[in-house]
Protein backbone atom coordinates (compact mmCIF):
# COMPACT_ATOMS: atom_id res chain seq x y z
CA UNK A 1 0.00 0.00 0.00
CA UNK A 2 1.34 3.38 -1.00
CA UNK A 3 1.06 6.20 1.52
CA UNK A 4 2.63 9.54 2.24
CA UNK A 5 5.51 7.85 4.01
CA UNK A 6 6.66 5.54 1.26
CA UNK A 7 5.57 7.45 -1.83
CA UNK A 8 9.07 8.81 -2.37
CA UNK A 9 10.55 5.33 -2.19
CA UNK A 10 7.97 4.16 -4.71
CA UNK A 11 8.81 7.05 -7.00
CA UNK A 12 12.49 6.27 -6.84
CA UNK A 13 11.87 2.60 -7.53
CA UNK A 14 9.61 3.64 -10.38
CA UNK A 15 12.24 5.94 -11.82
CA UNK A 16 14.73 3.10 -11.71
CA UNK A 17 12.25 0.69 -13.30
CA UNK A 18 12.04 -1.70 -10.36
CA UNK A 19 8.26 -1.65 -9.92
CA UNK A 20 6.03 -4.42 -11.12
CA UNK A 21 2.98 -3.74 -13.26
CA UNK A 22 0.66 -3.94 -10.22
CA UNK A 23 2.84 -1.53 -8.27
CA UNK A 24 2.93 0.92 -11.19
CA UNK A 25 -0.87 0.77 -11.38
CA UNK A 26 -1.12 1.38 -7.65
CA UNK A 27 1.27 4.31 -7.98
CA UNK A 28 -0.80 5.82 -10.80
CA UNK A 29 -3.95 5.47 -8.71
CA UNK A 30 -2.30 7.10 -5.74
CA UNK A 31 -0.99 10.00 -7.82
CA UNK A 32 -4.40 10.50 -9.35
CA UNK A 33 -5.98 10.63 -5.90
CA UNK A 34 -3.42 13.07 -4.50
CA UNK A 35 -3.29 16.28 -6.59
CA UNK A 36 -0.44 17.62 -4.50
CA UNK A 37 1.85 15.27 -6.39
CA UNK A 38 0.99 16.89 -9.73
CA UNK A 39 4.14 18.95 -9.34
CA UNK A 40 5.75 15.94 -10.92
CA UNK A 41 4.77 17.51 -14.22
CA UNK A 42 7.87 19.61 -13.77
CA UNK A 43 9.97 16.51 -13.41
CA UNK A 44 9.40 14.59 -16.61
CA UNK A 45 12.41 12.39 -15.96
CA UNK A 46 10.51 10.91 -13.02
CA UNK A 47 7.35 10.43 -15.03
CA UNK A 48 8.17 8.04 -17.80
CA UNK A 49 5.14 5.94 -16.99
CA UNK A 50 3.08 7.09 -19.96
CA UNK A 51 5.91 6.56 -22.41
CA UNK A 52 6.80 3.18 -20.97
CA UNK A 53 3.24 2.03 -21.10
CA UNK A 54 3.33 2.42 -24.88
CA UNK A 55 4.46 -0.66 -26.72
CA UNK A 56 7.64 0.29 -28.51
CA UNK A 57 8.44 -3.24 -29.53
CA UNK A 58 8.34 -2.14 -33.16
CA UNK A 59 11.39 -0.05 -32.44
CA UNK A 60 13.23 -2.56 -30.31
CA UNK A 61 15.97 -4.69 -31.69
CA UNK A 62 14.94 -8.09 -32.91
CA UNK A 63 18.35 -9.46 -33.77
CA UNK A 64 20.69 -11.39 -31.53
CA UNK A 65 23.37 -8.79 -32.02
CA UNK A 66 22.80 -5.24 -33.20
CA UNK A 67 25.46 -2.53 -33.05
CA UNK A 68 24.78 0.06 -30.39
CA UNK A 69 24.29 2.79 -32.98
CA UNK A 70 21.47 0.77 -34.51
CA UNK A 71 19.40 0.34 -31.39
CA UNK A 72 17.00 2.68 -29.63
CA UNK A 73 17.56 1.32 -26.15
CA UNK A 74 18.91 4.57 -24.76
CA UNK A 75 16.52 6.94 -26.48
CA UNK A 76 14.14 9.05 -24.50
CA UNK A 77 10.59 7.62 -24.41
CA UNK A 78 9.15 10.97 -25.47
CA UNK A 79 11.19 10.94 -28.64
CA UNK A 80 10.19 7.35 -29.33
CA UNK A 81 6.56 8.13 -28.81
CA UNK A 82 6.69 11.27 -30.94
CA UNK A 83 8.39 9.50 -33.84
CA UNK A 84 5.94 6.63 -33.55
CA UNK A 85 3.12 9.16 -33.76
CA UNK A 86 4.65 10.87 -36.79
CA UNK A 87 5.18 7.50 -38.47
CA UNK A 88 1.57 6.62 -37.70
CA UNK A 89 2.54 3.47 -35.88
CA UNK A 90 0.55 3.96 -32.67
CA UNK A 91 -2.42 1.81 -31.79
CA UNK A 92 -5.68 3.40 -30.72
CA UNK A 93 -4.84 2.91 -27.04
CA UNK A 94 -1.44 4.42 -27.51
CA UNK A 95 -2.97 7.39 -29.29
CA UNK A 96 -5.26 7.98 -26.33
CA UNK A 97 -2.29 7.94 -24.00
CA UNK A 98 -0.40 10.25 -26.32
CA UNK A 99 -3.25 12.76 -26.31
CA UNK A 100 -3.42 12.65 -22.56
CA UNK A 101 0.31 13.23 -22.35
CA UNK A 102 0.14 16.14 -24.76
CA UNK A 103 -2.56 17.79 -22.67
CA UNK A 104 -0.65 17.33 -19.48
CA UNK A 105 2.76 18.36 -20.81
CA UNK A 106 2.96 21.47 -23.01
CA UNK A 107 6.66 21.00 -23.66
CA UNK A 108 5.98 17.57 -25.06
CA UNK A 109 3.24 19.04 -27.23
CA UNK A 110 5.78 21.44 -28.71
CA UNK A 111 8.21 18.60 -29.21
CA UNK A 112 5.58 16.58 -31.00
CA UNK A 113 4.70 19.54 -33.18
CA UNK A 114 8.32 19.96 -34.20
CA UNK A 115 8.57 16.27 -34.98
CA UNK A 116 5.51 16.50 -37.19
CA UNK A 117 7.07 19.36 -39.10
CA UNK A 118 9.96 17.10 -40.05
CA UNK A 119 7.72 15.18 -42.42
CA UNK A 120 8.89 16.08 -45.91
CA UNK A 121 6.35 17.16 -48.47
CA UNK A 122 6.91 15.91 -51.97
CA UNK A 123 7.65 18.79 -54.31
CA UNK A 124 5.46 17.87 -57.23
CA UNK A 125 6.60 20.88 -59.21
CA UNK A 126 9.99 19.22 -59.58
CA UNK A 127 9.72 16.95 -62.61
CA UNK A 128 12.20 15.25 -64.87
CA UNK A 129 12.93 17.48 -67.87
CA UNK A 130 12.02 15.90 -71.18
CA UNK A 131 11.21 12.33 -70.14
CA UNK A 132 10.83 11.39 -73.81
CA UNK A 133 14.58 10.94 -74.02
CA UNK A 134 14.24 8.03 -71.63
CA UNK A 135 11.69 6.17 -73.70
CA UNK A 136 12.62 3.40 -76.09
CA UNK A 137 11.16 1.94 -79.20
CA UNK A 138 13.01 -1.33 -79.08
CA UNK A 139 16.38 -2.39 -80.37
CA UNK A 140 19.44 -3.03 -78.36
CA UNK A 141 21.47 -0.88 -76.02
CA UNK A 142 25.21 -1.20 -75.98
CA UNK A 143 26.63 -0.62 -72.51
CA UNK A 144 29.29 2.03 -72.20
CA UNK A 145 31.69 -0.55 -70.85
CA UNK A 146 31.36 -2.58 -74.03
CA UNK A 147 32.07 0.48 -76.14
CA UNK A 148 35.10 1.20 -74.00
CA UNK A 149 36.33 -2.35 -74.35
CA UNK A 150 35.79 -2.23 -78.09
CA UNK A 151 37.78 0.97 -78.34
CA UNK A 152 40.57 -0.54 -76.27
CA UNK A 153 40.54 -3.63 -78.47
CA UNK A 154 40.71 -1.45 -81.57
CA UNK A 155 43.70 0.44 -80.22
CA UNK A 156 45.39 -2.80 -79.24
CA UNK A 157 44.73 -4.17 -82.70
CA UNK A 158 46.26 -1.16 -84.41
CA UNK A 159 49.31 -1.41 -82.16
CA UNK A 160 49.57 -5.08 -83.02
CA UNK A 161 49.29 -4.29 -86.70
CA UNK A 162 52.05 -1.72 -86.46
CA UNK A 163 54.36 -4.12 -84.67
CA UNK A 164 53.97 -6.85 -87.29
CA UNK A 165 56.82 -7.32 -89.78
CA UNK A 166 54.45 -6.76 -92.69
CA UNK A 167 52.79 -3.74 -91.13
CA UNK A 168 51.35 -1.22 -93.58
CA UNK A 169 53.22 1.99 -94.00
CA UNK A 170 50.85 4.81 -93.14
CA UNK A 171 53.32 7.42 -92.08
CA UNK A 172 55.61 7.60 -95.02
CA UNK A 173 58.19 5.20 -93.67
CA UNK A 174 60.09 2.98 -96.01
CA UNK A 175 58.06 -0.22 -96.47
CA UNK A 176 59.33 -3.09 -94.44
CA UNK A 177 58.78 -5.43 -97.35
CA UNK A 178 61.17 -3.42 -99.48
CA UNK A 179 63.65 -3.26 -96.65
CA UNK A 180 63.62 -7.01 -96.40
CA UNK A 181 64.18 -7.37 -100.11
CA UNK A 182 67.01 -4.91 -99.95
CA UNK A 183 68.57 -6.85 -97.13
CA UNK A 184 68.17 -10.05 -99.06
CA UNK A 185 69.80 -8.51 -102.09
CA UNK A 186 72.81 -7.54 -100.07
CA UNK A 187 73.27 -10.98 -98.64
CA UNK A 188 76.01 -13.09 -100.06
CA UNK A 189 74.32 -15.15 -102.69
CA UNK A 190 75.57 -18.65 -103.22
CA UNK A 191 74.55 -18.92 -106.84
CA UNK A 192 73.97 -16.58 -109.75
CA UNK A 193 70.47 -15.29 -110.07
CA UNK A 194 69.16 -15.99 -113.54
CA UNK A 195 66.20 -14.78 -115.47
CA UNK A 196 64.45 -18.10 -115.00
CA UNK A 197 64.58 -17.90 -111.24
CA UNK A 198 61.09 -17.42 -109.83
CA UNK A 199 60.68 -14.30 -107.78
CA UNK A 200 59.70 -16.07 -104.64
CA UNK A 201 62.97 -17.92 -104.46
CA UNK A 202 64.77 -14.77 -103.49
CA UNK A 203 62.31 -13.95 -100.68
CA UNK A 204 62.07 -15.18 -97.20
CA UNK A 205 58.87 -17.18 -97.35
CA UNK A 206 58.63 -17.66 -93.63
CA UNK A 207 58.45 -13.95 -92.88
CA UNK A 208 55.68 -12.75 -95.15
CA UNK A 209 52.63 -13.81 -96.99
CA UNK A 210 53.35 -16.04 -99.97
CA UNK A 211 53.14 -14.47 -103.37
CA UNK A 212 50.79 -16.16 -105.73
CA UNK A 213 52.85 -17.87 -108.29
CA UNK A 214 50.97 -18.34 -111.52
CA UNK A 215 52.69 -20.88 -113.71
CA UNK A 216 52.78 -20.38 -117.40
CA UNK A 217 50.30 -22.41 -119.39
CA UNK A 218 52.11 -25.25 -121.01
CA UNK A 219 51.15 -26.63 -124.35
CA UNK A 220 49.73 -30.12 -124.09
CA UNK A 221 52.07 -31.46 -126.74
CA UNK A 222 55.06 -29.62 -125.44
CA UNK A 223 57.85 -31.91 -124.36
CA UNK A 224 59.39 -30.79 -121.19
CA UNK A 225 63.17 -31.04 -121.08
CA UNK A 226 64.51 -33.66 -118.78
CA UNK A 227 66.92 -32.07 -116.37
CA UNK A 228 70.39 -33.50 -116.44
CA UNK A 229 71.21 -34.16 -112.85
CA UNK A 230 74.85 -34.58 -113.61
CA UNK A 231 75.05 -31.13 -115.16
CA UNK A 232 73.09 -29.41 -112.44
CA UNK A 233 75.47 -26.97 -110.87
CA UNK A 234 76.26 -27.65 -107.30
CA UNK A 235 75.69 -24.58 -105.23
CA UNK A 236 78.75 -23.08 -103.74
CA UNK A 237 78.70 -21.58 -100.35
CA UNK A 238 80.98 -18.60 -100.36
CA UNK A 239 80.43 -17.51 -96.79
CA UNK A 240 79.50 -19.33 -93.69
CA UNK A 241 76.03 -18.50 -92.47
CA UNK A 242 76.03 -15.95 -89.71
CA UNK A 243 72.60 -16.56 -88.26
CA UNK A 244 69.60 -18.85 -88.43
CA UNK A 245 67.96 -16.86 -91.20
CA UNK A 246 70.94 -17.26 -93.44
CA UNK A 247 71.17 -20.95 -92.63
CA UNK A 248 67.55 -21.35 -93.58
CA UNK A 249 68.05 -19.36 -96.73
CA UNK A 250 71.05 -21.42 -97.74
CA UNK A 251 69.28 -24.65 -97.00
CA UNK A 252 66.38 -23.79 -99.22
CA UNK A 253 68.05 -22.51 -102.29
CA UNK A 254 69.39 -25.77 -103.71
CA UNK A 255 65.86 -27.16 -103.78
CA UNK A 256 64.43 -24.12 -105.52
CA UNK A 257 66.35 -24.10 -108.69
CA UNK A 258 64.30 -23.66 -111.81
CA UNK A 259 64.77 -27.26 -112.71
CA UNK A 260 63.48 -28.98 -109.63
CA UNK A 261 61.09 -26.52 -108.08
CA UNK A 262 57.54 -27.81 -107.80
CA UNK A 263 54.97 -25.22 -108.56
CA UNK A 264 51.99 -25.14 -106.20
CA UNK A 265 48.84 -26.44 -107.74
CA UNK A 266 45.52 -24.63 -107.44
CA UNK A 267 44.08 -27.18 -105.00
CA UNK A 268 47.05 -27.35 -102.70
CA UNK A 269 47.38 -25.16 -99.70
CA UNK A 270 49.99 -22.55 -100.25
CA UNK A 271 51.51 -23.38 -96.88
CA UNK A 272 51.73 -27.08 -97.36
CA UNK A 273 55.05 -26.85 -99.09
CA UNK A 274 56.44 -24.09 -96.92
CA UNK A 275 59.23 -24.65 -94.47
CA UNK A 276 58.46 -25.38 -90.83
CA UNK A 277 56.63 -22.53 -89.16
CA UNK A 278 57.46 -21.12 -85.80
CA UNK A 279 54.66 -21.34 -83.22
CA UNK A 280 54.05 -17.61 -83.53
CA UNK A 281 53.71 -17.79 -87.30
CA UNK A 282 51.46 -20.80 -87.05
CA UNK A 283 49.17 -19.06 -84.56
CA UNK A 284 49.06 -15.89 -86.66
CA UNK A 285 48.10 -17.77 -89.78
CA UNK A 286 45.51 -19.91 -88.05
CA UNK A 287 44.06 -16.80 -86.45
CA UNK A 288 43.86 -15.15 -89.83
CA UNK A 289 42.08 -18.17 -91.22
CA UNK A 290 39.60 -18.09 -88.38
CA UNK A 291 39.01 -14.34 -88.33
CA UNK A 292 39.31 -13.33 -91.95
CA UNK A 293 38.71 -16.65 -93.73
CA UNK A 294 42.03 -16.22 -95.39
CA UNK A 295 45.35 -17.45 -94.03
CA UNK A 296 47.18 -14.50 -95.49
CA UNK A 297 44.91 -11.49 -95.73
CA UNK A 298 46.37 -8.26 -96.89
CA UNK A 299 46.80 -5.49 -94.39
CA UNK A 300 43.99 -3.60 -96.00
CA UNK A 301 41.69 -6.60 -95.63
CA UNK A 302 42.62 -6.91 -91.98
CA UNK A 303 41.96 -3.28 -91.30
CA UNK A 304 38.69 -3.27 -93.20
CA UNK A 305 37.34 -6.38 -91.51
CA UNK A 306 38.29 -5.33 -88.03
CA UNK A 307 37.09 -1.78 -88.48
CA UNK A 308 33.79 -3.01 -89.81
CA UNK A 309 33.37 -5.23 -86.76
CA UNK A 310 34.18 -2.35 -84.44
CA UNK A 311 31.78 -0.09 -86.31
CA UNK A 312 28.93 -2.59 -86.15
CA UNK A 313 29.50 -3.06 -82.41
CA UNK A 314 29.90 0.55 -81.39
CA UNK A 315 27.79 2.30 -84.01
CA UNK A 316 30.72 4.41 -85.20
CA UNK A 317 30.86 5.69 -88.75
CA UNK A 318 32.67 3.36 -91.07
CA UNK A 319 33.81 3.90 -94.62
CA UNK A 320 36.31 2.12 -96.82
CA UNK A 321 37.26 2.98 -100.41
CA UNK A 322 39.68 1.62 -102.93
CA UNK A 323 40.49 3.39 -106.14
CA UNK A 324 42.84 2.68 -108.97
CA UNK A 325 44.17 5.39 -111.22
CA UNK A 326 46.67 4.18 -113.70
CA UNK A 327 49.49 2.58 -111.80
CA UNK A 328 48.57 4.25 -108.50
CA UNK A 329 46.11 2.72 -106.09
CA UNK A 330 44.57 4.45 -103.11
CA UNK A 331 43.14 2.85 -100.02
CA UNK A 332 41.01 5.00 -97.69
CA UNK A 333 39.49 3.87 -94.41
CA UNK A 334 37.49 5.88 -91.89
CA UNK A 335 36.36 4.66 -88.47
CA UNK A 336 34.70 7.30 -86.34
CA UNK A 337 37.16 10.16 -86.05
CA UNK A 338 40.04 8.03 -87.17
CA UNK A 339 40.91 7.85 -90.86
CA UNK A 340 43.86 6.64 -92.88
CA UNK A 341 44.77 6.93 -96.53
CA UNK A 342 47.40 4.86 -98.22
CA UNK A 343 48.71 5.47 -101.69
CA UNK A 344 51.00 3.15 -103.51
CA UNK A 345 52.08 2.60 -107.05
CA UNK A 346 51.68 -0.82 -108.60
Amino acid sequence: MINEHNIEAFLLDYAEGRLSAEQVTALMVYLAQHPEWQLLDELPSLRPETAESVDFSFLKKNNVFVPSELTLENEHPYDLMAVAAVENLLTSDEKVKLNREVKQNPSFEKQLSTYQSTVLKSELEVVFPNPKVLKRKGGRTIPLTLIGLSSAAAIAFFIWIKTQPSAPNFIGKKPIEKEQNDNLNTRPNTRPKTQETPDFVAKDLTKKSPIKFIPEQKQENEILPIPNIAETPTPKIDLLPENDAQKEDLALQPEQTPENVQLPSANTSDYAALPTLTPKEFIVRKSNEFIFGNPAPSDEEKLSSFSKAVASTTGMDFEVRRSQKGSASTFFLKLGFFSIERKKSV
Binding site: L59, E87, Y115, T118, V126, R136
Partner: protein, 161 residues
Protein backbone atom coordinates in the same frame (compact mmCIF):
# COMPACT_ATOMS: atom_id res chain seq x y z
CA UNK B 1 9.49 -6.88 -68.86
CA UNK B 2 8.44 -5.57 -72.25
CA UNK B 3 9.26 -2.35 -74.03
CA UNK B 4 5.79 -1.07 -73.14
CA UNK B 5 6.39 -1.89 -69.49
CA UNK B 6 9.65 -0.02 -69.65
CA UNK B 7 8.04 3.05 -71.18
CA UNK B 8 5.29 2.88 -68.56
CA UNK B 9 8.00 2.91 -65.91
CA UNK B 10 9.38 6.08 -67.46
CA UNK B 11 5.99 7.76 -67.22
CA UNK B 12 5.34 6.54 -63.71
CA UNK B 13 8.69 6.84 -61.98
CA UNK B 14 10.87 9.34 -63.81
CA UNK B 15 9.60 12.35 -61.89
CA UNK B 16 9.70 10.70 -58.49
CA UNK B 17 13.13 9.32 -59.19
CA UNK B 18 14.31 12.74 -60.29
CA UNK B 19 12.95 14.40 -57.13
CA UNK B 20 14.65 11.77 -55.02
CA UNK B 21 17.95 12.27 -56.83
CA UNK B 22 17.69 16.07 -56.63
CA UNK B 23 17.13 15.95 -52.89
CA UNK B 24 19.96 13.51 -52.39
CA UNK B 25 22.50 15.32 -54.54
CA UNK B 26 21.29 18.94 -54.39
CA UNK B 27 22.25 19.16 -58.04
CA UNK B 28 19.61 18.99 -60.76
CA UNK B 29 22.05 18.26 -63.58
CA UNK B 30 23.70 15.50 -61.66
CA UNK B 31 20.29 14.15 -60.69
CA UNK B 32 19.22 14.05 -64.31
CA UNK B 33 22.32 12.08 -65.22
CA UNK B 34 21.67 9.63 -62.42
CA UNK B 35 18.09 9.10 -63.54
CA UNK B 36 19.17 8.59 -67.14
CA UNK B 37 21.82 6.11 -66.08
CA UNK B 38 19.32 4.24 -63.95
CA UNK B 39 16.89 3.90 -66.84
CA UNK B 40 19.70 2.95 -69.21
CA UNK B 41 20.72 0.24 -66.78
CA UNK B 42 17.16 -0.95 -66.52
CA UNK B 43 16.97 -1.08 -70.31
CA UNK B 44 20.05 -3.26 -70.55
CA UNK B 45 18.45 -5.67 -68.09
CA UNK B 46 14.96 -5.41 -69.44
CA UNK B 47 14.66 -9.17 -69.76
CA UNK B 48 15.95 -9.83 -66.26
CA UNK B 49 13.99 -7.28 -64.20
CA UNK B 50 10.38 -7.99 -63.46
CA UNK B 51 7.98 -5.11 -64.18
CA UNK B 52 6.70 -5.28 -60.60
CA UNK B 53 10.21 -4.81 -59.25
CA UNK B 54 11.17 -2.08 -61.70
CA UNK B 55 10.46 0.80 -59.34
CA UNK B 56 12.50 -0.77 -56.59
CA UNK B 57 15.29 -1.51 -59.07
CA UNK B 58 15.37 2.10 -60.26
CA UNK B 59 15.44 3.59 -56.79
CA UNK B 60 18.08 1.11 -55.71
CA UNK B 61 20.24 2.07 -58.67
CA UNK B 62 19.94 5.78 -57.99
CA UNK B 63 20.45 5.33 -54.27
CA UNK B 64 23.64 3.34 -54.80
CA UNK B 65 24.93 5.92 -57.24
CA UNK B 66 24.17 8.72 -54.79
CA UNK B 67 26.02 6.92 -52.00
CA UNK B 68 29.01 6.35 -54.26
CA UNK B 69 29.10 10.02 -55.15
CA UNK B 70 28.64 11.20 -51.60
CA UNK B 71 31.60 9.11 -50.47
CA UNK B 72 33.75 10.92 -52.98
CA UNK B 73 32.47 14.33 -51.92
CA UNK B 74 32.32 13.65 -48.21
CA UNK B 75 35.24 15.77 -47.12
CA UNK B 76 34.30 18.72 -49.27
CA UNK B 77 30.72 18.66 -48.02
CA UNK B 78 31.84 18.70 -44.41
CA UNK B 79 33.91 21.79 -45.10
CA UNK B 80 30.99 23.52 -46.81
CA UNK B 81 28.66 22.72 -43.92
CA UNK B 82 31.06 24.33 -41.49
CA UNK B 83 31.04 27.51 -43.55
CA UNK B 84 27.24 27.68 -43.68
CA UNK B 85 26.61 27.58 -39.93
CA UNK B 86 25.22 30.76 -38.47
CA UNK B 87 23.73 32.22 -41.61
CA UNK B 88 20.15 32.23 -40.31
CA UNK B 89 18.34 35.50 -39.65
CA UNK B 90 14.83 36.42 -38.69
CA UNK B 91 14.12 37.80 -42.14
CA UNK B 92 14.89 34.65 -44.10
CA UNK B 93 13.34 32.07 -41.78
CA UNK B 94 11.45 29.56 -43.84
CA UNK B 95 10.54 26.15 -42.51
CA UNK B 96 10.78 24.43 -45.88
CA UNK B 97 14.14 25.94 -46.62
CA UNK B 98 15.54 25.06 -43.23
CA UNK B 99 14.15 21.59 -43.51
CA UNK B 100 15.99 21.22 -46.79
CA UNK B 101 19.15 22.51 -45.18
CA UNK B 102 18.76 20.06 -42.34
CA UNK B 103 18.10 17.29 -44.82
CA UNK B 104 21.28 18.10 -46.69
CA UNK B 105 23.27 17.66 -43.48
CA UNK B 106 21.95 14.21 -42.76
CA UNK B 107 24.15 11.20 -43.42
CA UNK B 108 23.41 9.71 -46.82
CA UNK B 109 21.73 6.61 -45.51
CA UNK B 110 19.42 8.58 -43.22
CA UNK B 111 18.61 10.99 -46.02
CA UNK B 112 17.77 8.15 -48.37
CA UNK B 113 15.46 6.32 -45.98
CA UNK B 114 13.55 9.41 -44.94
CA UNK B 115 13.15 10.57 -48.54
CA UNK B 116 11.90 7.18 -49.60
CA UNK B 117 9.55 7.19 -46.64
CA UNK B 118 8.13 10.68 -47.03
CA UNK B 119 8.39 11.26 -50.78
CA UNK B 120 7.49 7.85 -52.08
CA UNK B 121 5.58 6.44 -49.11
CA UNK B 122 7.55 3.22 -49.07
CA UNK B 123 7.07 0.79 -46.21
CA UNK B 124 9.97 -0.12 -43.97
CA UNK B 125 10.31 -3.43 -45.75
CA UNK B 126 10.44 -1.83 -49.19
CA UNK B 127 12.98 0.73 -48.03
CA UNK B 128 15.02 -2.13 -46.66
CA UNK B 129 15.00 -3.85 -50.04
CA UNK B 130 16.14 -0.69 -51.79
CA UNK B 131 18.85 0.29 -49.35
CA UNK B 132 20.02 -3.18 -48.42
CA UNK B 133 19.08 -2.74 -44.76
CA UNK B 134 16.83 -4.84 -42.61
CA UNK B 135 13.55 -3.51 -41.32
CA UNK B 136 14.89 -2.79 -37.85
CA UNK B 137 17.77 -0.78 -39.22
CA UNK B 138 15.40 1.22 -41.39
CA UNK B 139 13.30 2.10 -38.33
CA UNK B 140 16.35 3.19 -36.41
CA UNK B 141 17.67 5.31 -39.26
CA UNK B 142 14.29 6.99 -39.73
CA UNK B 143 14.10 7.67 -36.01
CA UNK B 144 17.57 9.18 -35.97
CA UNK B 145 16.87 11.23 -39.09
CA UNK B 146 13.68 12.70 -37.63
CA UNK B 147 15.36 13.41 -34.35
CA UNK B 148 18.21 15.20 -36.12
CA UNK B 149 15.77 17.24 -38.21
CA UNK B 150 13.77 18.11 -35.14
CA UNK B 151 16.85 19.22 -33.22
CA UNK B 152 18.02 21.30 -36.17
CA UNK B 153 14.65 23.03 -36.44
CA UNK B 154 14.54 23.59 -32.70
CA UNK B 155 17.98 25.20 -32.77
CA UNK B 156 16.98 27.38 -35.69
CA UNK B 157 13.86 28.53 -33.85
CA UNK B 158 15.95 29.38 -30.83
CA UNK B 159 18.34 31.36 -33.01
CA UNK B 160 15.49 33.25 -34.66
CA UNK B 161 13.83 33.81 -31.32
Amino acid sequence: MTVNDYNSCVDAFADGLFRFAVKCTSDAENARDLVQEAFAKLWTKIHEVDAVKAKSYLFTTVNNAVIDQSRRLQHRRKFENQLEVGSVTTENFDLKQHLNDALARLPEIQKSVILLRDYEGYSYQEIGEITGLNEQQVKVYIFRARKTLKEYLTNIELLVG
